[in-house]
Structures are given as structure tokens and as C-alpha cells.
Subunit: 424 residues, 2 copies
């Protein structure tokens, strides 16, 4: 971890840079897979699954028995944890429901808006040894709350042709039953184009490797929308003299262990805390199973000493972190000053892991500086908001002349005529 | 206008197709302009403006005098109309403000979310003979309400180097003062990369021709977000026996006059209304200054007779129109059945022109079937929603074991450790 003390403001622009990602274009690969899926559907999916996941599937869809069996394959304690997290996530996302408010604009002119679910959504859950069942909750719960009619979950099978039971149990807990054993570009292609067994959807959610990311980007050419542009995960922690170096180090490392391209930024006003935290990182790192990944992430990470918490907040706003932890005493005074961040954790006991799993907030958040212009996933991500208006005869009499004047000035006489006829 | 009676459901998929747009790739052109702007900034902007707008500018920024002078150059009646529309749009968009709700998740765990403005936004207003000042209101008002700090407006100058006074007056009315005389790809490049005089922004809004559209798409490579993907404008009208054929025809034509690639769809359950409306279209078309454009749009537009209003609504949901007009008696009973639409107009007196200009709703809406997965522009488009959480020591004691179990099951021991240290 690089350490910098009191950098000049002119140097900040360099300090907020993210680690460069390889910009290898995968577009040709993606196009060719999409084309195969378009032409050969399920049979192409099975061929790709054999090639990349080393398993020959006869059936892509996870059976009801497999889903039900998941309960027997994970501990009761984990089941209870998943249910508890589900309840919290549901509670928080329920609070995001918007109820129509009729607005009386002028006599005879009423406008409002109403939310409608995106009818068909696809959720992608990556494979690998660690099953990301928490992401099933984070995407499935708001999809259900929104009322999406078709929720299609795709995730790659292991070499036995199985899906990890924690993923199936989380899906079952949420109420998702359409689960398909397919991953990679081919999964995104199936969700975009549809096959004999997998229905096409309107919006695709979920994390993935560079192939999945490239495929999600390409899916947009087919009028599909996606949750968020991709980028490496990151946390920025601001600590004052009362922070706990051991907690701060653990939070930095929990982000660093995500991937070698993760980035962690540590800002403090206290030199002793800085030194102690760096030492703690060194000690804790040794204990981590994923220490090699975390160490590489720390290589392009930075600790910076600043003169004031205000300066730390300014820097953070410029960096626009995915996760922001305020390990400071009077965090209450700084909430209003936060301009760009995905999700914010306040005080010494609000660790990022809480939001990653179980406190209720969503963990699908804008990375790579996108917190400047994107929100994280929420109930809003699964609905459209449609505006409605009702003008009575009185309403158009009132407002009509205004519309006529404006339409005429824009030289759209058809627009004007639609009003004039009604005023007659 | 093609007329179809009682189509089979199996034919619907063909009937909802939009007119094909030329898919000429403008990417090379766009890249080369972006590159010129990156290297030469303002001087490249001036060269492009000379080439495409036929005017040699010394200053790109519209002066305070020019903005102030706009008041003298448009009629008092138009000024009043713009101010009235502004008040209505402001009233409606103000109602979209979200106030933080603290959610008690568990003892010691509180979560909420707060909106923050996107700090820097760019608004693009196309040029041409007709000044689209209404779009200045539709984008500028929510940007101001959201609290965006920098609102940069770009619009191409005429051959005298001037901006239409109605655009300047609308901007002034909204409170926008950063206005630049630049259009086309070069404007989007300037907003994306920044130049000596034009600041770079985080999100770009506004309509435009195929060049502007291609440039907005490319801007996303620079981590810029955009309002909506582009497509031709469209309206779908559903009418029953009590509808007024003259009103319906005028509404269809007001959409058709937008552009040759516009599409209008007319659904009715009443054959007499169908015939009368087609006749009315013929008559009214002759009177329109933009009759040639409208006639071409009608060439790829369709009128369909259905058996029931329910069937019309089903078809409309499948089509997912940008604008939907329900010229039916008991529209109240059908509001809940509308699943996909950008903006909905209820009853015989709610013409689309009202929403285009002055009733308060936004006119920047999802086209081309994007109403299935996108909302129109609203206050939400100019903010990010940031989640916050505060866990007390009690909170982490409560929830900690759940988080530990889940993190361990995902094999993220660093995540678990961040909790375990706090439980000690």
C-alpha cells in the first residue's frame, strides 16, 4: 500500500485513478457466441457448457427436486442466516415503493406517475468455488417486490452438473423457480435472444467476469437494458483518531480479497492511526486464505494523510467510491457533505460486510467512479415509472392557448391543431 | 396508413415492429471528431462549427447580454406561455422529490437512502429552423430542482452565429447561464472530454440526429451516462365508439409530423370510428405545413380493428408505446392494466401536445419499445440515490453471527473477520 502525506490538491486527480484494466476487446468472441445461440439455441448452450464447464447436460433447467433438495444440503444455521438476511433486505427495499400522488397542476389538469414492474428480468450469478448466494438475494428480492412476472436465473453448473445448494436455497427462499444451468457469454446470449428452454428478458442484472461483462454490454444492441456498467470493486475509509486500526484494517482487507483489481483507499487525519492500521493490515493479511489476491489489490491501493476530515470528504467525493466507511466520531455532521458514493457505512461498527450480506441495503453498487452518475440497484431498477395525465374540457380550455403558442413557435402546427380542434 | 381488421394473436409480433432505421455505422466519424476535440479543444470546435454551421465564431459561450436580449426578441405572449409551462413542469417534478425514511431493520441497525444531484450535467438542444425550447424546460427544470451544480447547455448556432431567442429565454427562465454555441458530434465530444471553455460533465441529456445519437452512445466509453437510448418517436391511440375522430386524427398527425421515421398506431373497437378517423387524417393532412414528413410516417403506420378494449390494451402492452392515448369512455378501468408505456393520456381532452409542452409531465420518453425497460426522464434522472447504514455495537452483536455465517459460506474470510473482530 502506497502511503502519501498531505498531497497538494493538484495531485488529487492522479490519486483518484483506478487500476487500469486490460482493454482486450472480446467483442468478436461475444458476437460469435450470440450468433451460435441465435441459430442453434439450447443445443449450442449445451455444447458451450460441455466446453467450458466440463459437463454434458441433458436438461438445462434445474428441477423442482433439485431446488427442494437444497434444504438438506446446507446447515440449518446457514438456512436461518439466509432467511434473516432475506427479511432485512425485503424490509429495506419495501420502503422504496412509491405510491401514486395525484398532482393538481391547474384546474382540470391532473398528472401523476405509477410504477410498473419490468415484466421479464434475467439474473446472472457467477460460478466458481464460492457460491455467490448473497447476490441471489440482492437481485431476487427487489425483483419479486417489484412484481416482475418472469424472473430467470442463470448460473453455471459444476463439473457434476450441479448448482451449489446455497444458491438454490437462496433462490427458493426468494421464490425464484426458473433456474438454468448455464454461465458465461452463452447465458447472457440466451437471456437476450431466448432459446427453446430459456425465455428472453428485457433487463439483465448481475456480476461476472470479463466475458459476462462484455456480453452484457453487447446485449444492449438488442434493446436489453442492464443494471450497471462494470468495474473493479472498491472501498474508501475515512478514519479519525478514535478509529480502531484493527477494524479499519479488516474492512480494507475484506475489500482487497475480492479480486486483484480491487482497490482500497484509506484516508486519515491521524498519523498514529495510519501507522497502526498499516501494521494491522500486515498482520491480518497473513491469516487470510485469499492473501495473494488481497496483496495484489493492496499493491495499487493508497493510504493518505490529510489535515482535516473535511479534506478527506472532499477527496472522497472526487474519488466517488463504491463503498464509503466513515470511521469517525461525529459522522452525523458529514452525511450532508457526501456527494458521490454508492453506499455509506457510519461509525466504527458499520462494517462493509454488513451491507454486503444482511443489513438490508443492496450490494450491487456503482464502481469505477460511476457513483458520480449512477445509483446502486434498488427497487427502482426493476420498475418503470409511467406518467399519466387527465385533462378535462375545462383543463384544455385553460391550458390550450399556452400549448398552441409554444407549438406554433416550434413550427409544429400539427401539435397546435390537436389543441385548436379541442378548443372549438 | 395500413388498415388491419381483427388480426390473429400470432400476427401481433410482426405488427409491433418499428420501421427499420439505417444502421450505417458512424463510429469512425464519431471517434475521429472526439479525437480532434481531445487534441485541439476549442479551436477544433470552432473549425467544426465553421464547417457544419457555416459560421466563424470568436466566442463559443453565449454572453450575458445575448441571454438578456432574448426577452426583447420574442413576444410577450410566448414569454408568458414559457413561464406558465415552466411553473407546471416544476410543480410536477417537485412532487418526485424523495425524502429520507429511516428504516429500523433490527435493534441497532438503521438504513436509509438519500438523493444527491449529479454534479455536472450536459443538455443538448438540436438546432434547425424550429427552436426546441420546450426541451430546454423539460431537461433544465429537473436539473435545477435536483440541485445539479453545473448545467451546461450546448446548441448549434445559426449562420449568423446566433441562438434562437426562445431557447435563450427558456434557459434564462429556468436559470441556466452556461450556454455554448456548438452542435453535432463535436458538442457531445466537448461535454464528454471538456475543452478550454466547455467543462466536461458526468451525464448527457437531449435529443439529436443520428450523429448526436451515435456520439452519445460513444460518450459512454468515457464513463459518461446518458438519458435514454434513442429511437423514432411514436404514439398509440386506443379509441372506442365515443371517441372524436377529428381529435384522434389530429393526435395521430401531431406525432407523424415529427419525422419520416415516426410511427403512429391506431387501435379501435368501432369500425365507424375507424373509417371516420382515416377520412379525417386525409383532410387534416392537407393543411399541415409538414405534410410531406407526416405522409411518409403514415406509410409505415397502422390502424387496427379489435374486438375489445382489453385486446387493444394487450396489444399496446406488447407494442410498448412512447405515448399512449386512451380516447375511451371508461379509461379509469384500464389504468391498472397498462404495463408498458412512456406517458399516458386519458380521455378525449388529454392530447399529446399537452404533455409535450405544458401540463407538467416530461416529454423525454422511451421510444422504440424501450418503454418495456426504461422510464422517461424525471427528477430521478438527475440524482443518484445513496444508501446509508449505521450499526451500533448492539447492532453488530445482533446481526454479526448471520454475516459471519454467510461470508464463510461464500469463502470470503476477510469479510467474516471484519465482523469477528467487532464481536470480540
Amino acid at each position: 500500500m502506497k502511503t502519501i502525506k498531505y498531497p497538494a490538491k493538484s495531485d488529487w486527480q492522479d490519486l483518484i485513478l483506478r487500476p487500469e484494466r486490460e482493454k482486450e476487446s472480446l467483442l468478436d468472441t461475444v458476437k460469435s457466441v450470440f450468433n451460435d445461440i441465435k441459430i442453434s439455441g439450447d443445443s449450442a448452450l449445451k455444447l458451450y457448457t460441455e466446453k467450458f464447464d466440463n459437463v454434458n447436460l441433458t436438461q438445462l433447467k434445474v428441477s423442482k427436486e433439485e431446488i427442494d433438495d437444497s434444504t438438506n444440503k446446507i446447515s440449518m444455521a446457514l438456512q436461518e442466516a439466509i432467511v434473516r438476511a432475506k427479511n432485512n433486505i425485503e424490509k429495506f427495499h419495501s420502503s422504496q415503493k412509491e405510491h401514486p400522488k395525484l398532482i393538481d397542476i391547474e384546474p382540470g389538469v391532473i398528472c401523476w406517475r405509477e410504477s410498473r414492474p419490468i415484466e421479464k428480468v434475467g439474473l446472472y450469478i457467477p460460478g466458481g468455488t464460492a457460491p455467490l448466494f448473497s447476490t441471489v438475494l440482492m437481485l431476487g428480492i427487489p425483483a419479486k417486490l417489484a412484481g416482475c412476472k418472469e424472473i430467470i436465473l442463470c448460473t453455471p453448473p459444476d463439473s457434476e452438473g450441479d448448482i451449489h445448494p446455497a444458491i438454490l436455497f437462496a433462490a427458493k427462499t426468494v421464490g425464484i423457480t426458473e433456474i438454468y444451468k448455464v454461465g458465461g457469454i452463452q447465458a447472457i446470449a440466451a437471456l437476450s435472444l431466448g432459446t427453446e428452454s430459456i425465455p428472453a428478458v428485457y433487463k439483465i442484472f448481475g456480476p461476472g467476469n470479463q466475458y459476462v461483462t462484455a456480453a452484457k454490454k453487447y446485449a444492449q444492441e438488442f434493446n436489453i437494458s442492464i443494471d450497471l456498467p462494470a468495474g473493479p470493486s472498491e472501498v474508501l475509509i475515512i478514519a479519525d483518531e478514535q478509529a480502531n486500526p484493527s477494524f479499519v484494517a479488516a474492512d480494507l482487507l475484506s475489500q482487497a480479497e475480492h479480486g486483484t483489481d480491487s482497490q482500497v483507499i484509506f484516508l486519515t487525519t491521524d498519523e498514529a492511526i495510519l501507522e497502526k492500521t498499516l501494521k494491522e493490515i500486515e498482520n491480518q493479511l497473513k491469516q487470510l486464505p485469499r492473501k495473494e489476491i488481497a496483496a495484489k489489490a493492496l499493491d495499487h491501493s493508497t493510504a493518505i494523510l490529510f489535515n482535516s476530515i473535511d479534506e478527506c470528504i472532499q477527496f472522497s467525493n472526487q474519488y466517488a467510491p463504491e463503498h464509503l466507511i466513515l470511521a469517525i466520531k461525529d459522522f452525523v455532521n458529514y452525511v450532508n457533505k457526501i456527494e458521490n458514493a454508492g453506499s455509506v457505512f457510519l461509525g466504527n461498527y458499520s462494517c462493509e460486510s454488513a451491507g454486503d450480506y444482511a443489513s438490508g441495503t443492496n450490494h450491487t453498487l456503482p464502481t469505477n467512479g460511476y457513483a458520480r452518475n449512477y445509483s446502486g440497484v434498488s427497487l427502482d431498477s426493476f420498475v418503470k415509472k409511467i406518467t399519466f395525465q387527465e385533462l378535462t374540457q375545462e383543463g384544455i380550455q385553460n391550458l390550450g392557448p399556452t400549448i398552441e403558442l409554444m407549438a406554433e413557435a416550434e413550427e409544429l402546427l400539427g401539435h397546435k391543431n390537436a389543441v385548436s380542434l379541442r378548443l372549438k
